[in-house]
């Protein structure tokens, strides 16, 4: 069983919809939680990074972590066609040198105009 499981998608929504992207994990040592966005034929780019449980907001994006349930989510409000991409969750137990990140497989999102 994988340490990080991500809703496989693909997900297709109309412009303006609220999108929820989700990951679950099994390793209780994970304390750092990241969301990356990957456009087609490009490398991933870091969207948001949170530590431990709670919410973090950045513009239209909100990252939510529930460590008791081992569940994280990324919400996108007022989704735009430019949000169409693959979204990867990632997690790490440590922030410094030996802290490897474990990635989910990604969820592909299409926002239709």
């Amino acid at each position: 069983q994988k340490e990080v499981e991500q809703d496989p998608g693909p997900l297709s929504v109309p412009e303006g919809a609220i999108v929820s992207l989700n990951c679950t994990y099994s390793n209780s040592a994970f304390q750092y939680f990241m969301w990356y966005r990957q456009y087609s034929r490009k490398g991933p780019e870091l969207l948001m990074y949170t530590y431990s449980s709670g919410n973090k907001e950045d513009g239209r994006f909100t990252a939510q972590v529930d460590k008791s349930s081992k569940y994280i989510s990324l919400f996108i409000r007022d989704s735009q066609p430019s949000d169409s991409a693959t979204y990867l969750c990632a997690m790490s137990a440590r922030r410094t040198n030996a802290g490897k990140s474990t990635f989910g497989d990604g969820t592909t999102l299409t926002v239709k105009p």
């Binding site: 991500q6 990241m34 034929r41 490398g43 991933p44 870091l46 490897k100 990604g106």
Partner: protein, 113 residues
């Protein structure tokens, strides 16, 4: 802007060839990583380095080696390419104090025939 560049976007090699993939970052980051990305398997860590001449095995190091002679450059070597090494290879870098915030290159799509 952090810039991570990879030597080739597309590469076609024959089985048994020695393959070199080069990665260069221009932000004086201490840490550098090599991943491969495959459908259904996500991003998997091959090797990482947290200092010049230092290297650590990731989750799937078999069939690969790495070299880091200069801080800005991290090379991935396939000693004898095989068809199961056909994949997208992604390089990333980060500051030593923030392994979780990784900056990725555009990727090299390697096909081994």
């Amino acid at each position: 802007d952090v810039k991570v560049t990879q030597s080739s976007r597309y590469l076609v090699k024959r089985t048994g060839e020695k393959v070199f993939l080069e990665c260069v970052q221009d932000m004086d980051h201490e840490n550098m990583f090599w991943y491969r990305q495959d459908p259904g398997l996500g991003l998997r860590l091959i090797y990482f380095s947290y200092d010049v001449k230092m290297k650590e095995k990731g989750d799937i190091p078999e069939g690969y080696s790495v070299s880091r002679e200069k801080k800005e450059r991290f090379s991935l070597i396939l000693e004898s390419a095989s068809t199961n090494q056909t994949s997208m290879y992604l390089c990333a870098s980060s500051l030593s104090g923030s392994n979780c915030e990784q900056y990725f290159g555009p990727g090299t799509r390697l096909t081994v025939t």
